[in-house]
Amino acid sequence: MHISRFREKKSLAIARKNRLEIIKAQLNRRDMLKAGLLGGGGYLVLKNGLSQWASGHEAWARGGGGDGSGSGTGIVSPPTRPFVEALPIMPVRQPVTTLSGPTPTIAPNTAGGEGRTRPHQAFGAYPTKFTFPPALKFETHQKEAFVSMSPDLPPQPIWGFDGQYPAPTHHARYGQELLIRNFNDLPPASQNRGFGMPSVSTHLHNAHTPSESDGFPCDFFSPGQFYDQHYPNALAGFGSTHASTNGDVNEALSTLWYHDHRVDFTSQNVYKGLTGFYCIFNQFDTGNETTGYRLPGVPNASNFFAPIQYDVPLMFADRVFDPNTGQLFFDLFNFDGILGDKFLVNGKIQPFFEVEPRRYRFRLLNSGPSRFYQMFLTDQGSNTQLPFFQIATDGNLLPHPIRVDNVIIAVAQRMDVIIDFRNFAGKTLYLENRMEQIDGRGPTGNTVPAGAGNFVMQFRVGTTVTHPDASVDPATNPTYYTLPATTAAPRVSRSFRFERSSGQWMINGQIMSSDCAQPRFSVQQNSVERWSLQNNSGGWMHPVHIHFEEHQIMSQSLPLLATDVSRKDVFRLQHNETTQLFFRFRDFTGRYPFHCHNVVHEDHAMMLRWDIVPAPGGDTNSQP
């Protein structure tokens, strides 16, 4: 005790001595950035002479787009070599014939160790469409594991579905419902290694999922428990507007993801690794470039549950590592949003990917926690930005491919793109994030010059093609789905002002409580509503995510991009913006949240609960 006391005093003395300097230094970081003294990764720029190892590659290997701390903690990750490890391709989750544990039940099997609190609603509500238990079954075990994110860092403890980060990719088909038994095998809180809450709720982001399987923030369950989730994989409208056709094929989804949604702790649990892709296929988006829309992709000949060649999910994540321990660092005491100075793709810092000179489909996902990306395809040799085609926004294929030279991706958004490497055999290209962001509030509005951004990953284009390209050239302007009409009169028009008052997030001037006890408003099942979102929170931007049903943008203050004329589940609410969104709430009932998907804001109660209730029902509160 004596010795530790002494140490405390000594460190205290040092802390006292440095205190003002620390505060001063933090205030000065932005000035330094402005003056060009700090690089994007929070590294001092070359002229200031960091270690030779770090500085020699700073210009093209730089990490963050901000001051590297984003939080005022001033942490700069240790140097890592970029482009020395190959991009990991996540395995695809395999079905099981028999589930571990008790036989599944429609009612929650509390006595058997299940954390679910409400019965599966689909089987009672639509007995001719769904059969219990579904023939297709999966299970996943959320658990701790150690992974390498860079050869220059020590092994990192993560929490992953099946002990993997990113989690195994899930392949699903429309019309093929499934049950997934989700086991919480996480260690107790006492072994969380610094952050993370081991009670969890898994959200299937963007899916048309009954409330009890949606991963509602307060439906969390504890270590030792399991939770059966029923994913109907049914087209929206199957039980309502499009009952005769078993749903509206124009509302088919493609790229979804699943992630933890535990109220108040989502940012920590997602940062720790509880994220994975969920891709849904149908007769048009088949995963096979010789059928349907002929999007790039050559599936495994004998197994649907296997990665698809040339159809590659890319999960972006920015992270900070403690410079002393080399361990993943989470800023626990940050209200604004967390920026990392290291960029991971599929769990590796700045990987390379060997591609063939042909077309690829990439499913780009910003898994957060807080950063906005603007991704360009850069040919660094000539410092030119190459065009590519965007084919989807969030989970939805666009009506047609759109030729772009960049995509903006807010947290939780997905953007599917087609890149044609045909003319770049032998070349090296990069995905470069050029969106400037220096704190968690949102981007500055500047796009940094080409070549000065974050080189997130490298493409090494080979010279030979294994499978000759049979995909449709997006330049021929093929047609995908048709946007459903938005002419129906809304039953209710509601407006939501996003504000910040005394550091607390408010929607329409009201605080949201973290126990999810009361819905703010309720929607009548199978009705149309129009929601207006307004951002009155000053210098903040918010990627607003509404669960269960997608929207179409009727109007917004800022010019609408061609790529926003679509169905979406995340609206990027920019400064002082107002937007009008069209919704149709169908098929299922129950509680859902809508929230900011800057997960740090979300964890600080920038979220509310709303419910869908059977007709006749629901309120008409225009300013809930």
């Binding site: 205290l12 220059d152 006492s190 809450m197 607390q504 605080i511």
Partner: protein
């Protein structure tokens, strides 16, 4: 240039510091403070270490967010009943130590009839400022941050022994506040060690 192979990194030896210790060093300066009862305490060793806590910032003459937040926390304290002061502790740090003497804070406590287990703290201005900065009770806009009349109503809560930390808006329902505290009051018998 981009195809150059970088030299290998130096043979880095990573410090063996537990996550909990990293958190302590980064966020919990062990500065000396004075309670509203005039008792001298250290921030980490006496207030935070191995404890389940709620933390907010306020000042006694605040005309803004403090009064409703204090009233709300008082209701949450009543819901948590005798656990506050036993295995849960509430701390309110002054934003204006130059005017909030221990006596002024004591008067604040007595005026509002706040129960035991809720401690108000003052001290040297730069010590309180250090805690405020470290715990992130700041605004990224420097002008807003400097304006004490518009300070944050957010409340940190957590369990130091378990490295569980989160926050809630001070104006959320007392029921939700009490529930949040129960989330982090995980059994501590398997608590990990700070050193090593």
């Amino acid at each position: 240039m981009a195809n150059d192979t970088p030299p290998p990194p130096p043979n880095k030896r990573w410090a063996k510091i537990s996550p909990r210790e990293t958190i302590r060093r980064r966020f919990f300066p062990d500065v000396r403070l004075t309670t509203h009862e005039g008792k001298k305490v250290r921030f980490y060793e006496d207030l935070i270490e191995n404890r389940c806590v709620m933390i907010n910032f306020m000042y006694a003459r605040c005309q803004g967010i403090c009064s409703p937040v204090t009233a709300n926390l008082r209701r949450a304290q009543q819901l948590l009943a005798d656990r506050v002061g036993r295995d849960m502790f509430m701390y309110s740090f002054t934003l204006k130590p130059e005017e909030d003497s221990p006596a002024a804070l004591k008067a604040y406590v007595e005026e509002r009839k706040l129960g035991p287990g809720w401690t108000f703290l003052t001290g040297r201005p730069d010590d309180l400022e250090l805690i405020r900065q470290r715990l992130g009770f700041t605004d990224p806009d420097p002008a807003r941050d400097a304006d004490r009349t518009n300070h944050t109503g957010m409340v940190r809560y957590g369990n130091e022994g378990l490295s569980l930390w989160a926050a809630f808006p001070g104006m959320q329902t007392p029921e939700a506040i009490a529930k949040s505290m129960l989330w982090v009051a995980w059994p501590q018998n398997a608590g990990h060690t700070r050193k090593g």
